[in-house]
C-alpha cells in the first residue's frame, strides 16, 4: 500500500468511559460513532464503508441506519481495529468506498447486551487448554512471561516498573480510570492474580467504546480536523492457543506486523516520536519493544525501569495510561488508536511536543493476532 494516501478525519471515544451502567454494548457503538461523525462534521448518510469486531457489521449498521457498500467484520481480538484501519485504507485506495466508519464498544464491566465469552468443549482450546485450569486472560496471557524473563534476564522489579510509569502518564489524563501514583513496591505487594503477575500488572475491566472515520488524503483537507495520515500498516495472526506459540521469547504475530508497518512507512526507529503498545498485561510492552526492533529483548526491562518511556523522556510510551491505568474494556486496541490520533492532532491530555510520527501496535487474544499502524501528521 502507498503511504499517506488515506487519513483519519474523525475520531472519538464514547461520551463516558469507565463504568457505564445505563447503556448496552450496542448503544455504546452508536454513542462512539455519533461522536466521531460529529467530530468529522459528517452526516450518517456520508458513511459508505463500515467495520467492527465482535458485534456484526449488520447489527451495528442497522442500529445506526448506515447503508454501506463495503464492510469488514474482521474479529481477531483487541487489535481488530488496527486491522480494520489497514483494510479500510486499502479499500479506499482501491475505490471500493469513500468514507469508512470503524466502531468498537464493549460493556466489559457492566456486561449489558454482551454475550459472555465461552470456549466450546470440542474446540482445540476446549480440549487441550481449558481442562488444565485456564480461566480468562489473567490465567493465560502471562503464561509466556517466566520463560521470557529467564531467557533475557528480566526482573520482577522491571516488570513492575511498567505499571508505575504508565500510572505517571495516567495522572496527566483526566479521563484515566486510575490516576494515583504507585511505586514498584506497591505493584509487588498488590494482590496476587496469576504468578508472576499481581493486580497492578493486569489491565482494568471497564465499559466504553471508540470510533474512527477514514477517507482519502485528498479529501481529508476539507475536513474540520487536522488530518492524521496512515503512513504504514501491518497485520498477522499466529495461534488462538497461547501454549502453541512458536516460542515464548517473542511473538511471531508482533514480529510480522510491526516490521511490515515500519517498512511500508519507510521509517527507522529513531523517527518514532510517540509509541503505543497494547498493554493488557505488563509484559506486552517488553515483547513489543523487542519484536518491533526498538532494542534487544535483554534491554527492554531496563529501558522502561530506567525511565526512558516516562513523560518527558526519549520514547513516550502508552501516553494515555494504557490498559493498565486508562481503560480496558476487553478490546483495548481502539483506545490505543484514539491516543495516537490525539497525539498527531496535538490535542492529547499528555501531549508529546512536536510529535510527527506515532506507532500504534496492537495485540489480539493471547498473542494470537497483531496489527500495527504508523500515523503521521505531515504528508
Amino acid at each position: 500500500m502507498r503511504k499517506n494516501q488515506v487519513a483519519v478525519v474523525g475520531a472519538a471515544e464514547t461520551t463516558e468511559l469507565g463504568i457505564i451502567p445505563n447503556a448496552s454494548q450496542l448503544q455504546l457503538h452508536a454513542d462512539a460513532a455519533l461522536n466521531a461523525i460529529a467530530d468529522a462534521g459528517l452526516k450518517l448518510s456520508d458513511i459508505d464503508g463500515f467495520a467492527t469486531a465482535v458485534e456484526t457489521p449488520q447489527q451495528v449498521c442497522h442500529y445506526l441506519g448506515i447503508k454501506p457498500t463495503w464492510v469488514d467484520g474482521t474479529s481477531v481480538g483487541g487489535c481488530s481495529f488496527m486491522l480494520h484501519v489497514r483494510h479500510a485504507a486499502a479499500a479506499i485506495e482501491a475505490g471500493l468506498c469513500k468514507t469508512v466508519l470503524i466502531t468498537h464498544a464493549e460493556s466489559g464491566k457492566s456486561m449489558i447486551g454482551k454475550a459472555p465469552r465461552s470456549i466450546p468443549a470440542d474446540s482445540l482450546q476446549g480440549q487441550f487448554e481449558a481442562p488444565h485450569g485456564v480461566y480468562g486472560p489473567p490465567s493465560m496471557f502471562p503464561i509466556p512471561v517466566l520463560r521470557f524473563m529467564k531467557t533475557y534476564g528480566i526482573t520482577h522489579e522491571q516488570l513492575a516498573s511498567v505499571a508505575v510509569v504508565q500510572r505517571e502518564w495516567a495522572a496527566r489524563n483526566p479521563r484515566a480510570m486510575m490516576k494515583d501514583p504507585i511505586t514498584v513496591a506497591d505493584v509487588l505487594n498488590s494482590r496476587m492474580i496469576a504468578y508472576p503477575f499481581r493486580l497492578l500488572q493486569c489491565c482494568l475491566v471497564t465499559d466504553g467504546g471508540g470510533a474512527l472515520i477514514l477517507t482519502s488524503a485528498d479529501r481529508a483537507r476539507d475536513f474540520p480536523r487536522k488530518p492524521v495520515y496512515i503512513m504504514g500498516t501491518g497485520e498477522s495472526v499466529e495461534t488462538p492457543m497461547v501454549s502453541q506459540m512458536e516460542t515464548f521469547n517473542s511473538s511471531r504475530a508482533f514480529k510480522t506486523a510491526g516490521p511490515l508497518a515500519f517498512r511500508e512507512a519507510g521509517i527507522a526507529h529513531k523517527d518514532v516520536d510517540h509509541l503505543m503498545i497494547y498493554d493488557a498485561f505488563a509484559h506486552l510492552p517488553l515483547f513489543g519493544l523487542g519484536d518491533l526492533g526498538f532494542m534487544p529483548y535483554e534491554e527492554t526491562g531496563k529501558f522502561i525501569a530506567d525511565g526512558n518511556t516516562r513523560p518527558g523522556a526519549k520514547l513516550p510510551l502508552n501516553t494515555n495510561g494504557g490498559g493498565l491505568s486508562y481503560m480496558h474494556s476487553g478490546m483495548y486496541g481502539m483506545y490505543a488508536l484514539q491516543e495516537s490520533v490525539r497525539q498527531m492532532r496535538g490535542i492529547a491530555p499528555a501531549q508529546v511536543a512536536n510529535a510527527k510520527i506515532s506507532v500504534c501496535h496492537g495485540v489480539g487474544g493471547m498473542f494470537a493476532a497483531s496489527g500495527t499502524i504508523v500515523f503521521t501528521n505531515e504528508r
Binding site: 476446549g126 487441550f128 481442562p131 488444565h132 485450569g133 490465567s139 508472576p196 501454549s243 502453541q244
Partner: protein, 137 residues
C-alpha cells in the same frame, strides 16, 4: 447442587486417537511420513509440509517445564487455588499445556527447565487427562 466441574474435553474425529491414548495410558503424538515433523495438537495432515500421510505414535512422555503461571484468581471451576498451569516441552519437540502433580505449587518448587514425565489423571470413564510430575532420577 453439584460442585462445579472441571472443563471436560469433547473429542472430535481428528482428536479421538489422542483421548483413546490417554485412556490407555499412552501419550500419542503424530509424525509426518513425508518430512518427519512431529506435531501437536492432532490433525490428519502435516502443518509443516501439508502431507496427508501421517502416523500416530506413542511419545516418550518425557519433557521439561517450559513456562507456567500459578493461578490464584479467578480459579477455574473444579480447581482449588493456587494451582500451576504449565506448558511442557516434550522431548519429541511439541509443547502442550498441562498441570504439574506431586510437586508444591510454588515458584521455588517449580523451576523452569526441570525434567518432567507424563502421568494420567482419569476424569471419568471417557476422559483421562495427561498431566506431568517431576521426573525420577
Amino acid at each position: 447442587m453439584a460442585e462445579p466441574q472441571r472443563a471436560r474435553p469433547k473429542p472430535t474425529p481428528e482428536t479421538q486417537h489422542f483421548w483413546d491414548g490417554t485412556k490407555a495410558g499412552e501419550l500419542r503424538l503424530q509424525r509426518c511420513d513425508a518430512c518427519a515433523h512431529v506435531y501437536f495438537p492432532p490433525r490428519p495432515f502435516c502443518p509443516s509440509c501439508a502431507s496427508r500421510k501421517v502416523s500416530i505414535f506413542k511419545a516418550s512422555g518425557k519433557g521439561f517445564l517450559y513456562s507456567y503461571v500459578i493461578n490464584h484468581r479467578p480459579a477455574a471451576p473444579g480447581f482449588t487455588p493456587p494451582y500451576a498451569i504449565a506448558v511442557v516441552e516434550l522431548d519429541e519437540g511439541p509443547r502442550m499445556m498441562s498441570n504439574i502433580i506431586d510437586c508444591p505449587q510454588t515458584p521455588e518448587a517449580l523451576a523452569l527447565d526441570m525434567k518432567l514425565e507424563v502421568a494420567f489423571q482419569q476424569l471419568d470413564d471417557k476422559i483421562t487427562l495427561p498431566v506431568f510430575r517431576p521426573a525420577k532420577g
